[in-house]
Amino acid sequence: MPKINVDEAKSGMITSRPVSNENNIIILKENTELTDSIIDRLKKMGIEYIFVKAEKRFSKSREDTLNEVEKRFSRVVNNPIMDKLKRIVKEHIEELYDRNR
């Protein structure tokens, strides 16, 4: 996961780039593990986006992961191949989560 909206940030994620404020002053170093209070502060400072490292698999909930798939496919409609792929990818994700339970 690269650039994310601060609203999507969750504690436990790790920054992959330093975060700077509008005056280009670094307010959070690279490789910092986010906590709820850090995320709160970022929001209060009006930071919109941050860069985080590739997320560990399963760090997101099953629902979020499936919703993201839905979103990625939202621009392809009425296409039987894409509908099929969407279904397969979703089933694949369900299976991964089932195994990991």
């Binding site: 996961m1 690269p2 650039k3 860069f51 590739a54 990625r72 621009r75 792929l85 694949h92």
Partner: protein
């Protein structure tokens, strides 16, 4: 947005090695790759002289992405086994992708995912040149890196617009640049004397029906690219996925079960992908 002349852009891209922002080691590699008379010995010597590069290349070759884990311990052996073009591609991959991490976080993971899935698909289809296809999977988005380093402001803005309007990068590239990252990648692949089929896969990974030399290979990378994005592995610069070409789908003829099996195998082979960091 106007003012981007395609010929000028091509000239810039073909002279990427002259950019002041390119690290010296990469400059050496790019200049080396440009030489039309590279031989197996020369490339072997070139890589072996540099311990960091040697390590990166061996790590990549022995990774599950490539499919022969733990067997290749020297650059000489690797070059003999995989051939000049695959090693050239790999040299390019492991070096250019450092820039990629800066240009677009997540593109390296996307590229690795695509390499792994392309390799699995090629094997499943029993294609002879699965090593070449793996390299094509790794390098298919090299045009994005070249654009990001050559016209950083324009490309960043382009990506922002893409994100804001939920478009694909491909659509916005056509509007703003009159070309796309596939074509841009092919310019440099040609300049570096990559074989025709590799050039074609890079050029047409979004338009596989245009490929004349490597239609099936192009189909493999086209489908891998879209599936890796659909799965959400890495980040290719946009959050919308383009459609799979119908003809491509029919050429490959995978069943639902095939696709599931391929996706699972990809997950397994990428379990430790962070180790392969560019």
């Amino acid at each position: 947005m106007t003012g981007i002349d395609k010929q000028k852009l091509r000239f810039k891209v073909e002279n990427t090695h002259n950019l002041p922002t390119i690290p010296a080691t990469l400059k050496n590699i790019l200049t080396f790759l440009e030489n039309p008379s590279i031989s197996i010995n020369k490339i072997s010597d070139f890589i072996s002289k540099d311990p960091v590069l040697t390590m990166k290349v061996l790590k990549m070759i022995n990774s599950p992405v490539y499919g022969f884990p733990g067997r290749i311990s020297s650059v000489n052996q690797a070059v003999l086994l995989l051939g000049l073009n695959v090693i050239k591609g790999m040299l390019l991959g492991v070096s250019v992708f450092e820039l990629m991490q800066k240009a677009m976080v997540g593109l390296w993971e996307h590229s690795l995912g695509c390499a792994a899935l392309s390799s699995l698909m090629a094997k499943k289809k029993g294609l002879k040149s699965s090593e070449d296809i793996t390299i094509a999977g790794l390098l298919h988005d090299i045009g994005k890196v070249l654009l990001a380093v050559n016209i950083p402001e324009v490309y960043e803005r382009l990506i922002d617009v893409t994100e804001k309007h939920g478009l694909t990068i491909l659509e916005e590239e056509k509007t703003v640049l009159g070309t796309n990252h596939g074509e841009v990648g092919s310019w440099i692949a040609k300049k570096w004397n990559f074989p025709k089929h590799l050039v074609e896969i890079i050029q047409y990974h979004h338009e596989p029906y245009k490929a004349s030399n490597a239609r099936v290979e192009c189909a493999v990378v086209h489908l891998s690219d879209i599936l890796v994005r659909a799965r959400g592995f890495g980040f290719a610069g946009d959050n919308s996925i383009p459609e799979v070409n119908k003809e491509t789908w029919d050429i490959l003829g995978f069943t639902d079960e095939d696709i599931k099996e391929l996706l699972l195998a990809m997950e397994d082979s990428l379990e430790d992908y962070e180790d392969l960091g560019a």
